[in-house]
Symmetry: D2
Subunit: 289 residues, 4 copies
């Protein structure tokens, strides 16, 4: 063990920098930087537009629905489907659940995101109002216990719970285990918890990321952009680490835009370019006022 | 005149700061600041999330479609509808045109925005490919001559042109006037330009903002947030101008979030709040790894 | 008067047949036929697929939203919008209200239609549950008093009522008049009824068809198909009236399909044709089992 | 063998009637009835509204997308997705493909259906125009060779073909086999055909129903209504077969509506009922004119 320990320390001593793929990872690294606990510079790959706008939204959106349907084979049309958290992942899930015919509710703690969800035509309400009417509740908040004991107490019989956000802490599973009088597995990836009053709550993939547990994770066609960010940011870190502090840095805009250009090209899509006159107009203030 | 001139100068001398409502205004003010031409601090009200996420997207979206339908009374279902520019206004227009049954094409010069439009299921292509197949072309770019002579040459007979972006420069109207052999006004706000080959191009509202020209502009329910930003930023400027430079400043986040909270309240919508445990979890990095 | 009366009778005596454009007209003519009161054959133009699938759905859908927005200029995004009746008109209205960003509730009396609405992701509930949460309630049932006194009693302050179905009987306006302590007109086509408890209910266009009262009715691009049905059915009636009874007849399928073909052609849209082999396959039962 | 043959004949001799679940089965049975080849009465369960409006549309829609995603794990967002045939199955597939972010093209041979697809905002064109731009082509026509040799010749490299309609005849697989220079299976349910020019065409599930081949078929929540029709129609056939001819009969309306009522009840959804006054109004013609 001490050998391993030593090796790990030597490895860390030799690290010149890192890159971080996930929203929750970036949140933690920022907290570490703030506490002075970060020991090398990190580029927040997650914050690249070519990462979170696509991977988190379209990748998580599709693969979460995929996971839910593979695990349960329940018809989405006409179901009440609650998305907990309206960040980029939550938006993707809400969009795809609606696209599959569900009636979508959003719960949020951030007033700006809540307002956007309302304007998109989703119902927005606190979880204690959403829980009793939901057929599906899917978490994507990056926080813990967003579905908790008081919610289990009021859920509909047969409600399906899944997590597409962060580890397996978003749903308070120990509390659900403690409440249940009986537990069995009717299908792979589905745990059926029977409560004392006879209601059953179905937890998918043990509360772990349902798109990884019950489906295949993100399609290659969104991971390609995430990995391009990883590769180009690693290269950038190698070239620039000497001048960087032990902080969390954003992905350089040039890298982000280059990946977007390559992606469009790979899809066979061409776009317009600004003429010299148009570029000048945008940066001027003498004309047009 | 010299009196007026003097008064204007005195007024400017007494200005302690400003606030700016529009995307294009902010672009110009930033250009002025960069040229050292800005004579007082300005808060970019347009950049508040409670402004551009709502006013530009949902307000412009609805009111642009309203303007098009009032001016033409054409059935949107089944029409090919090209949106030029996929910023917040363009997104709103694209979303509402699709919601009205149109088949939407997006043209862009920015690869990131183009990629988002593709992922939303819109067709993305250069204007010279979009022009020949469009029944409607609506501009929202903030730039000039984005519809120009080469495009007029290849448009479908009866194509309707409108602008929802910026002044009346987005469509090259002088070029259209020069090409036309005949011009008449079949309905209010519709100018019908007949080209030498017999095709007719219909320009709405003289290329001015079609939601103002042919409809009533944004609904009160989005302007309320924009005006709340104006009021609270004016108050902020009055209190803090002494410490601000002659630059363009963002809306303080506190103001932005407060407006979102008030708006939800006014709509009768309640949301969840983070528990102390959840707040702690988000800012920690020791748990959950 | 007696002269006019006589003329009307002479006219009716000379009628060889009729055609009927509306759903409610056809319902009444069928009732007349059943009572032996129908004095000449009628073709139910409304029942042509090229009529009700398009005019009622896309025409009423667009023009109803147009009427609501012209009358009120209220932002649809985020509003709770109840559609009363999920026939072809109701479907069109629900589809376009959703497309404008509203959260749509459907009320119905027919279980099949209610089930379809559920599967389309709309909320379905009785009117007494929908009324207290609706910002807009729009009727399209062809029946009377579908919004009645008990519903006025529980509506939200500011609720907007409109009719897109049938005459001005779908909303019980006399009952609303009787309840109101004050009535004024804040905008054209909007009557504001103040109830004793201070709530205000806004009735558009005096409860008459809101797309005719406050907008321009259906766009030409759907009426063309309805009128083509009228013209070709009048021609058919002229040619065949001698062999027809005093009943309500459907539009001949040939006429219906011919209009669809012409319409596609007019829109510049080409489609595939069955090969001889494919036609044979469809009518055979020996192959492929 | 002759024993088995005899048993089969005896079984057929004792059949008092049948029920048929599928669109293509009903087409064949009608052809048999027309040829005098049908030996007992059949109820077309497929034609029940509670069957085809739900099973074919929402069931096939969801499970087809499920099959495509399980087989390929390709991101649907931004893909060009062609649906061949806009019957109830095709509508469901088109709706769900759009809901998953794809840009949907419809091909049809029926002008009425083609026109509806246009009005829903889909692009409609002949297959020879759709083939070169499609990432996915899915058949749902009930006919043979709707994707054939001329289409293989012009498809994009990597185009994915699947069938959700009828047996394995909708795609001309023998022709594809004959064209290919190389064939391999990169994933389960995916056959990759390499053409002489290097393009690869991917056929899912050997051209059999992709929702059965690569996914789990329809969810229970739509099959329940189909099976309720089967059960109640079998009971009806048992009670009435003596009075029925060797023809194809529709599902009795009472059975259809009863199933819709039960389904709503099972989903916990209540709806309004007509008052006596409203019922009277609908069947009268004296009032309201």
């Amino acid at each position: 063990v001490s050998e391993l320990h030593k090796t790990r320390r030597e490895l860390l001593d030799n690290v010149i920098g890192g890159t971080e793929e996930t929203t929750t990872g970036v949140i933690r690294l920022r907290a570490m930087a703030q506490d002075g606990a970060l020991q090398f510079p990190v580029i927040a790959v997650n914050d690249a537009m070519t990462k979170h706008l696509f991977d988190n939204r379209y990748g998580t959106g599709q693969s979460t629905l995929d996971g839910l349907i593979r695990a349960t084979n329940i018809l989405m049309a006409g179901k009440v489907f609650t998305v907990v958290g309206y960040g980029w992942c939550g938006r993707g899930i809400a969009m795809r659940a609606r696209g599959a015919g569900a009636n979508v509710i959003v719960t949020e703690v951030d007033s700006m995101r809540a307002l956007e969800a309302v304007m998109e035509g989703f119902r927005v309400m606190p979880m204690h109002e959403a829980a009793p009417q939901s057929d599906f509740i899917v978490t994507a908040t990056g926080d813990k216990n967003v579905i908790d004991e008081p919610h289990f107490a009021i859920m509909k019989d047969g409600c399906v719970l899944a997590n597409s956000g962060h580890f397996n802490v978003e749903i308070n599973i120990p509390a659900l285990e403690a409440l249940a009088v009986h537990k069995h597995q009717p299908r792979a990836f589905v745990d059926d918890f029977e409560l004392p009053d006879g209601r059953r709550i179905r937890l998918l993939g043990e509360g772990r990321l349902v798109n990884l547990a019950a489906a295949e994770g993100h399609p290659a066609a969104v991971m390609d952009m995430s990995f391009a960010n990883q590769a180009l940011c690693a290269q950038y870190m190698f070239a620039h680490h000497a001048t960087l502090e032990n902080k969390v840095y954003p992905v350089p805009t040039d890298i982000d835009l280059e990946i977007a250009r390559f992606k469009l090209e790979a899809m066979g899509i061409r776009i317009d370019a600004l003429s010299a006159e148009q570029t000048a107009y945008l940066s001027s203030w003498q004309e047009g006022t």
